[in-house]
Symmetry: C2
Subunit: 99 residues, 2 copies
């Protein structure tokens, strides 16, 4: 019996994946892998509006996937959970072999 994941865990993991499963959010998370970035920084890497980037960051922040730090009139965003870094790293290894 290897399937020992509780209903609660299944729900939690599914919700996490759902939050990560949007291309823009996925891209944002990749960009945040090794540094802090502002909305403006991200905006220049992701083809959409500032408002839209901000909305996606809010979604990620609400799920505790990222955290933010305010400095002057910039807000720096970073990945808040090391497990997310591991997960992204694993997915890169599995699905982006020829990098």
């Amino acid at each position: 019996m290897k399937d020992d994941m509780k209903d609660e865990d299944v729900e939690h993991v599914a919700a996490l994946l759902k939050t990560m499963s949007h291309p823009i959010r996925m891209r944002i998370l990749c960009l945040l892998q090794d540094k802090e970035l502002t909305v403006g920084d991200l905006r220049s890497e992701v083809k959409t509006s500032n408002a839209n980037v901000s909305q996606h960051l809010t979604i990620l922040r609400n799920k505790q996937i990222i955290a933010s730090r305010k400095e002057a009139n910039y807000i720096y965003n970073r990945i808040a959970d090391k497990r997310i870094l591991e997960l992204i790293s694993t997915m890169k290894n599995l699905f982006c072999p020829a990098k």
Copy 2:
């Protein structure tokens, strides 16, 4: 520069996560980790209708996440991609520590 994931890869991974991000589909994948199961088998583990389980299996099959084998009047489903197994395993380790 560590962010070397191409747009195409981001799209692909996001789509994969999206497909896996439904609680019922996540549960199904966990149940299929080490064995083949039919719609009926799965139905008894997941609280929903046969038709609904079948629909979720179709979604997973269309994305090549699972494959099916017909024998008599049963259809046995299994995980088609070893990378999915690795991914599930990683997520279990990361997010279900107290198992």
